[in-house]
């Protein structure tokens, strides 16, 4: 019903393949630089989702032809996901997305110690302080039921030091959960090293890899984790589909109970079209990771260099070396990120601060806060995240527009401060 103000003369960059010469004065061009929030679907994914929605309606649990047809689609997708992360298809459990996968990993692992093995007396959970809310609030909820929770702080690099984990982990620790790549600043954590520490204390290692899978090569064996969450819509797949990879032999209790779907680990009729889309997205990502990573890194660096050069008082948040290639988080001195984000949107450029709260207002980033950045800097930082359809023209447009917007906002800040 609502189309939020866009008339017919608006072109979206992710439809460039449909509309060739669109850099034309008659058009407003919308630039989408918020791929870490969600991504436009790859055309092949759209085709798969549409086809399955229309043609494969069977229940994957049914015995007959229609069920078998659906089951085959789900199994193909399972193999594609397993291939993308170097796991075995039997270890992949489909979920409704990253949030459910995180909940399943943490609550499912905790439940084993609460109900099945209470004698092992493990009642401690550890995570980094920069986890996504899906992890943080799940831990908070378990904290209210008696679990002890430790959140590990970080330094300004945004990379968790293994020593921090060493300091707090004990043999009581049931699970360590550290995200692979951070959604706001893109830094990549040393999961393999952290997993070694966790395992030395008999704890499970979970990683929320929602922001790394599909962007950089991810191997569950190399990371040496027990549980890994991923989400389709972060790599050009559909929303409402994700997976938890559960290393064979890991004890975990189902949190969604009901029928015997997903080998008894996640009840509920499979969302076949979305799962098919996830499978296609996984196969596409696997096929072009090696080419797409450097392409995005070059674009991101072009953007970063341009902004730092043309806008005074800017700085990149977090370490610049260990990052996913598509993300940069930049602070703009003396500018409220909230205003700059809106001003950019009105220019047709979509970016983001950290995470939006329920009403849609912006809150100071808990990630930047956990890194020890000043309160001011946590509120003047913007995230730019690029992806599949991002182009050099888009980067240049942003670099061209930003100085003017920032100057305008700074002029007002000065006035407000003195008046």
């Amino acid at each position: 019903m609502a189309s939020i103000g866009d008339g017919p003369n608006v072109v979206y960059s992710f439809r460039y393949h449909e509309l060739a010469a669109c850099y034309n004065e008659r058009f407003t061009v919308r630039v989408y630089f918020d791929y870490n929030a969600t991504t436009p679907l790859a055309p092949e994914v759209v085709d798969a989702v549409v086809r399955m929605t229309r043609d494969v309606f069977g229940n994957a649990s049914s015995v007959h032809h229609f069920g078998q047809q659906a089951k085959a689609v789900v199994d193909d997708a399972r193999s594609a996901v397993a291939d993308l992360i170097g796991g075995d298809p039997s270890e992949v459990v489909f979920t409704s997305g990253g949030t459910e996968a995180d909940n399943f990993a943490i609550r499912g692992a905790a439940a084993v110690f609460d109900t099945i093995e209470p004698s092992r007396k493990k009642h401690h959970l550890i995570a980094s302080a920069i986890e996504h809310e899906a992890v943080l609030n799940t831990l908070k909820a378990l904290g209210r039921t008696g679990w002890r929770i430790s959140l590990l702080p970080l330094d300004q690099t945004g990379v968790l030091s293994v020593d921090r984990l060493q300091d707090v982990i004990t043999d009581d620790t049931a699970l360590v959960s550290v995200m692979h790549a951070n959604n706001e600043i893109g830094t990549i954590q040393r999961i393999t090293d952290l997993a070694a520490v966790a395992h030395a204390h008999g704890a499970l290692m979970h990683t929320d890899a929602v922001q790394s899978v599909g962007k950089i090569p991810v191997s569950v064996r190399d990371l040496d984790v027990d549980l890994l969450s991923l989400s389709a819509h972060k790599f050009n797949g559909p929303k409402g589909a994700g997976a938890l990879w559960i290393k064979r032999g890991t004890r975990i209790q189902a949190t969604m109970t009901g029928g015997k779907h997903e080998r008894n680990r996640r009840a509920g009729t499979e969302n076949v079209p979305a799962i098919a889309g996830l499978g296609v997205a996984a196969a596409l990502a696997a096929g072009k990771l090696t080419a797409e990573g450097p392409r995005l890194a070059a674009l991101r660096d072009r953007l970063e260099t341009g902004v730092l050069r043309d806008v005074t008082g800017t700085a990149v948040n977090g370490a610049r070396d260990a990052r996913v290639p598509n993300t940069t988080n930049i602070s703009f001195d003396r500018v409220e990120a909230e205003s700059l984000l809106i001003a950019l949107d009105l220019e047709g450029i979509a970016v983001s601060t950290g995470s939006a709260c329920s009403s849609g207002t912006l809150e100071p980033s808990h990630v930047l806060r956990a890194m020890g950045l000043s309160p001011h800097r946590t509120q003047n930082s913007l995230r730019f995240s690029l992806g599949m359809f991002s182009t050099e023209q888009e980067v240049d447009r942003v670099v061209e527009v930003l100085p003017r917007l920032v100057e305008k906002l700074r002029g007002l800040t000065r006035k407000a401060a003195t008046g």
């Binding site: 019903m1 009105l346 009403s359």
Partner: protein, 357 residues
């Protein structure tokens, strides 16, 4: 022209936005989140609750304008709420909507609007603003007398009025609602907001006590001659003119004359009560006076309104320097309440106003 509309999620500001969009302006909807809603469990009532922000978003989508929610929690706390609590703690009866207008909507929000390239901020107030031949901005009542909100806008400066747009001020409430229905705006049937938005349960006393625990201090209720009639739990629980809730039923004199709050004496923590006749005043002084029309050199005949629902009464107003004014009514007025505004009108034009001492 690019215009920001302050959208509360109510029917008036929704229609304001729709009218401006229909006139072809480049309209941006902004809603102010004024208090912490992160827990999502606190049941806020009327305006600015999370449901209202949602309503504002739905209206913006329906009329195809961009919409953003801005976090003004800190500014709201520092200006409106602290003033509200401080006034009650000092035995005065605050008028938060006016502070919100002059310190947030037509101050912080205007600054944000300018950052977005918008020169004006529109609201759903029932009031009218226009520019006279000399270039001065004049403020008048909305044409619907039952909805007029000019009383709450007296403190706007010339700079603020220059950027203020009131699209529904020249319409009757019925017409505004009819327009909303005609356009099928999602809030067309929504009830008008009542009372003070940040205290949905209307328990002002508990709110004030929560912010300023020192107000929970008992004191004496006395009559006009200083005779103690009873005790009270804190002067912030009272307002001049109040009749109910004095807790004096058992002690009232046999005469059965109803007793009213006449005065609050914060330094002694005393509430003075008396018969209705003693509530009458013929004069008042006001401070923090803002003149929208030019400040008069000589005493001025005006009608003066001392509460939102008060029928403005004939009076002589004299500017007394240092942003002060003296008002002498032709006839005695009931319950001149410190902390409320005295707004001076010439017919439907707001000449100025100030805070009752």
């Amino acid at each position: 022209m690019r215009i920001v509309v302050a959208m509360s999620g109510g029917v008036d500001s929704s229609v304001a936005a729709a009218l401006l969009a229909e006139q072809g302006h480049d309209v941006i909807g902004l809603s102010m989140q004024l208090y912490d809603q992160s827990e999502g469990q606190t049941a806020f009532g009327s305006c600015c609750s999370i449901d209202d922000l949602h309503d504002a978003r739905r209206v913006a989508a329906a009329i195809h304008i961009p919409h953003y929610i801005l976090n003004f929690e800190r500014q709201f706390e520092e200006t409106v709420i602290s003033n509200f609590v401080g006034e009650y703690a000092h035995g005065r009866t605050p008028l938060p909507c006016t502070h919100c207008n002059s310190s947030l909507k037509f101050a912080a929000l205007v600054d944000r609007a300018r950052g977005l390239g918008a020169d004006a901020v529109a609201t759903g107030h029932y009031a009218r603003v226009n520019r006279d031949e000399s270039g001065r901005f004049r403020l008048r009542r909305g044409i619907d007398p039952s909805k007029d909100q000019s009383y709450f806008l007296f403190s706007l400066t010339q700079d603020q009025l220059a950027r203020a747009v009131f699209p529904v001020g020249d319409r009757a409430k019925d017409a505004v609602r009819a327009y909303a229905r005609e356009r099928a705006l999602p809030v067309a049937e929504k009830a008008d907001s009542q009372e003070i938005c940040f205290i949905p349960d209307h328990d002002y006393a508990r709110f004030v006590e929560g912010r300023a625990p020192e107000t929970r201090h008992e004191g004496t209720i006395v009559d006009e001659d200083g005779r103690a009639l009873g005790r009270h739990d804190g002067i912030h629980r009272f307002t001049v003119g109040q009749r109910k809730g004095l807790g004096l039923a058992s002690m009232s004199p046999a005469s059965s004359t109803p007793l009213y709050v006449l005065q609050l004496r914060p330094s002694e923590r005393t509430v003075v009560v008396g018969p209705k006749a003693s509530l009458e005043r013929t004069t008042l002084t006001a401070s923090g006076v803002n003149w929208i029309a030019c400040e008069p050199a000589a005493p001025l005949r005006a009608s003066v309104q001392i509460r939102h629902r008060h029928q403005a009464a004939a009076a002589t107003v004299r500017a007394a320097g240092e942003c002060r004014a003296e008002v002498a009514f032709d006839l005695p007025q009931l319950a001149v309440t410190p902390g409320q505004a005295a707004v001076f009108y010439d017919g439907d034009e707001v000449l100025g106003g100030g805070w009752i001492d």
